[in-house]
């Protein structure tokens, strides 16, 4: 008996597309997603709006484009976070168009082909960005800092003023000047200055980068780790499971902020990466428990038995068969996790146990508290509140979109 091959229906949606469709129907979550994307854009394009270096600099000596030179300069951006976002600024902007084109191109292909093509696209792009970042790190450009503001004043005084195209706010977050310490808001310093005389608005904008990095990296780190542990515990059960769950219980019983603060205090010269590691070290229990519970449920189902019968290896069953079905709850908790990681980071820097070298919202708020300045309390408070609530709304949207009971 022969059977004619059934043509794949053009509109057969994949799981991700179903969830995406559900997600789009939720207005609040949709708005929150755009809000988060806007924050991401602020983080990536911060130097376009806030930088002390002009885009174009025309003097009698000729024309130069100093802003572009500073982007990958370690003197100008000492923190790795800034280099990372600057790489994204260049590479991300350049690859945005081609990516959209490649994404749309496979719109009408059959599901299997379409999904594979899009997964490949995401993988290749991410790998490209990572390579670009590594290249920037390896290059380690370092040139002496030029203060164009002073240069402009000097040329002005000499009677040969320079023509320059400046960013919207002509100051960098690291620029200090104690003579203008704790100045109230002016046209030049929109939110005034802090104790060291740095511009609060600039620090607030660059603080977005710190918060987002901590949130996303800490969460991806502990979700990966927790998922792996949970998968192993849930799949093998027995003694492995008992041991891991005991460990989880131990970590849960120590109040996380106490643990985080104690560990942070023991690291001399802690950097923002230490802080991510610490947050991840405390928070991995959440995904571990979720994934374990899912594995315990799923491993008894028929498709797993079928995979076993087909002779799949244990690793194949865990990663190819069960894990894709168990990942939903982790996605939800990851979205809320980003919000709480941002809160923990800002709490740490509020208490003075963060990375003092990068601009952070909690640190601005602590200054505001010490010097009793409303602007310095309200501005970072509002920034944290907005970010956290957008992420929480997004998380609720993801949770509802993933819930098959709520599908209409």
């Amino acid at each position: 008996m022969t059977e004619s091959p059934r043509p794949a229906p053009q509109d057969d949606p994949s799981w991700a597309e179903i969830v995406w469709g559900q997600f789009r129907k939720r207005t609040l979550a949709w708005v929150a997603m755009w809000g988060v994307l806007l924050l991401l854009a602020v983080a990536i394009y911060a130097p376009v709006f806030v930088s002390n270096t002009p885009f174009v600099w025309v003097t009698a000596d000729g024309t130069s484009f100093p802003w572009f030179g500073t982007l990958f300069d370690r003197t100008h951006y000492p923190s790795g976070i800034d280099l990372f976002f600057n790489t994204l600024l260049v590479v991300g902007t350049l690859s945005f168009g081609p990516m959209i084109w490649a994404w749309r191109r496979v719109e009408l292909r059959p599901r299997r082909e379409r999904t594979a093509a899009r997964q490949r696209l995401v993988g290749v792009t991410a790998a490209g960005w990572a390579l670009a970042f590594l290249a920037v790190l390896a290059a380690g450009l370092q040139r002496p800092e030029v203060y164009y503001e002073e240069e402009a004043a000097r040329l002005e005084a000499a009677g040969t003023p320079a023509t320059a195209v400046w960013p919207l706010v002509r100051i960098s977050p690291g620029d200090t000047d104690v003579t203008r310490s704790m100045a109230p808001p002016t046209a030049q310093h929109w939110l005034g200055t802090d104790a060291a005389g740095s511009d609060v608005f600039a620090r607030l904008v660059y603080g977005t980068r710190v918060s987002i990095t901590v949130g996303i990296f800490a969460v991806s780190l502990y979700c990966t780790f927790g998922t792996l542990l949970g998968a192993v515990a849930g799949f093998f059960g027995g003694r492995v499971d008992a041991l891991l769950m005991r460990l989880v219980e131990v970590v849960i019983c120590i109040p996380s902020l106490f643990l985080v603060l104690a560990v942070a205090a023991f690291i001399p010269e802690r950097s923002i990466f230490h802080i991510m590691l610490i947050i991840a070290g405390v928070a991995w229990t959440g995904p571990a428990r979720l994934v374990r519970a899912e594995f315990l449920r799923l491993r008894e189902l028929d498709f797993v038995a079928a995979a076993r019968a087909a002779g799949f290896s244990k690793a194949q069953i865990i990663f190819q068969e069960i894990l894709p079905n168990a990942i939903g709850p982790v996605l939800v908790s990851a979205t809320f996790g980003v919000a709480s990681a941002i809160l923990v980071e800002s709490t740490m820097s509020f208490l003075g146990l963060g990375d003092a070298r990068v601009p952070s919202w909690g640190q601005i708020l602590a200054t505001g508290r010490t010097y009793s300045s409303w602007v310095l309390i309200l501005a970072p408070g509002f920034a944290i509140f907005t970010t956290v609530s957008l992420l929480n709304l997004l998380g609720e949207g993801v949770r509802d979109a993933l819930d098959p009971k709520l599908r209409s």
Partner: protein, 475 residues
């Protein structure tokens, strides 16, 4: 039920033991131990040893012991010789860092060195090494002082007096560099006779080796003290336990106050919005609670403090502290004073818990309200308030009871921020202060105390859950 409770309580002990192990290891990894200061030359023996005060300090805090496992009995005589030679630069020119490291190692090894130093003293070909072996023996053979805070203080003092005498008798048994020729001979004879008497103490049997591996460690000694309710002392010589109990009083008042307030507010709010689910009131409440949930504690606290305490615009509440000084003479006055002081901290702390709790209360009631028995209750003509309170709420509240276990650690954690913002001398600010003062005994104590609180919180919530819900099978 009793059996279940008993089993749950028994399980807490191994968990607590593991927690203490994890926390202890973490705290021990901390850099900047007080014992890590540099060494000084001892003029009389020429042996570079750290000052007596530093050694005393290290011994007192057991900082000279390994953290979890002690394998020092495995060390061999050649290794000890190498350490002595490096520490004193007898042969060759070791770097200052290597010298300091060797010096510290020699100090920390303590009485595990005795056996090997005796061998060096008797047999080493280099006369300088023989001389130094005697000098190091004085430190290695010295008996450590016992704690006077455990057991009978008089007995401990008596023991310490004896040990003091024993140690000072050893102190003369070494020669200064370039001393008279017969000196070394004399000293060696003296040590030999001492060794004949004390030999058994330093030659370890299998059981003693095992004992040393697990019990002669910082962790085991910490537990030994912990079992005697001795949490060590802070650098200012105040016992940590006394400070902790005082701080605990403040923190618990605030935490329990907020838990109580949060539950008292959350249940009616949740029920109200569940009954009016979908109405405008419900929507407004949802938004308000969502905002409360997303506001960071330190922000809410700072803003409340500025608005209501600092006098910008009003100064209704005090800017800090737990109660006025001097305390009010009447009990009622004192309670009022404390409430006046902790009103803002409790309000801040409550706002975090309230949002989550009332959401759970709402969904709990909504789940129940569609159940058949509610329809039955309505059908048989019961008044709506009776249906809601007696039938729906009682069942709908079960899920929020379990939250108690999760909320307690959050509130204890949150106490750090709240106590720092509102200047309350509780456990959280104690932790931050101890961290800045590098008071590791206190950091340990706070972490352990908070873990105990959490364990108890989880226990209470499990037990109350089992008590309230007859569907849960206990055994």
């Amino acid at each position: 039920m009793l059996q279940y409770a008993f089993r749950r309580i028994l399980w807490m002990f191994p968990t607590f033991f593991l927690i203490s192990m994890v926390v202890f290891t973490l705290v021990s990894l901390a850099p900047g131990n007080p014992g890590q200061s540099g060494g000084t030359e001892n003029a009389s023996t020429g042996a570079s040893v750290q000052s007596e005060a530093v050694i005393f300090f290290k011994r007192q805090f057991d900082l000279d012991k390994p953290v979890l496992l002690n394998t020092r009995w495995t060390i061999g005589t050649p290794e000890v010789r190498e350490l002595v030679v490096t520490a004193q630069a007898v042969e060759g020119e070791p770097s200052p860092a290597a010298r300091l490291q060797a010096t510290t190692a020699l100090e920390d090894l303590g009485n595990y060195l005795v056996r090997h130093l005796m061998v060096l003293l008797e047999e080493d070909p280099n006369p300088e090494v023989r001389r130094l072996a005697a000098a190091y023996l004085i430190h290695a053979a010295a008996l450590p002082m016992v704690s006077e805070r455990i057991g009978d203080a008089e007995v401990a003092r008596e023991e310490n007096r004896f040990r003091e005498g024993y140690n000072s008798a050893l102190r003369g048994l070494s020669c200064a560099p370039g001393a008279a020729a017969g000196c070394q001979e004399e000293v060696t004879t003296a040590w030999r006779s001492w060794w004949e008497a004390e030999r058994a103490r330093y030659e370890y049997t299998g059981l003693e080796k095992l004992q040393a591996t697990f019990l002669d460690t910082r962790f085991a000694r910490y537990w030994w003290k912990l079992l005697h309710l001795d949490l060590g002392v802070s650098p200012n010589r105040v016992p940590v336990l006394d400070t902790l109990l005082l701080k605990l009083k403040y923190s618990l008042t605030i935490s329990l106050g907020s838990v109580l307030l949060a539950y008292l507010l959350a249940i009616p709010l949740g029920v109200w919005s569940a009954v009016r689910s979908g109405s405008r009131g419900d929507a407004v409440l949802t938004v308000a609670l969502f905002i409360m949930y997303s506001l960071p504690t330190f922000f809410t606290g700072t803003v409340l403090l500025r608005l209501l305490s600092v006098g910008d615009p009003v100064a209704w509440f005090p800017v800090g502290g737990f109660e006025s000084d001097p305390v009010s003479p009447t009990t009622l006055g004192r309670i009022g004073d404390v409430i006046w002081h902790i009103a803002l901290p409790v309000a801040t702390s409550t706002s975090v818990a309230l949002a989550a709790l009332s959401r759970y209360a709402r969904s709990g009631v909504i789940d129940v309200i569609r159940a058949d028995y509610i329809r039955t209750a309505r059908a048989k003509g019961l008044e709506e308030p009776v249906v809601i309170v007696k039938h729906a709420v009682r069942n709908g509240m079960i899920p929020i009871l379990t939250l108690l276990g999760g909320i307690l650690p959050v509130l204890v954690s949150g106490s750090v921020v709240i106590e720092v913002v509102f200047n309350i001398p509780g456990m959280g600010s104690f932790l931050v202060d101890s961290i800045t003062n590098r008071d590791y005994n206190a950091v340990m104590a706070v972490l352990l105390a908070s873990a105990v609180l959490t364990l108890v919180g989880i226990l209470i919530s499990d037990l109350s859950y089992a008590l309230v819900d007859p569907r849960i099978n206990l055994d």
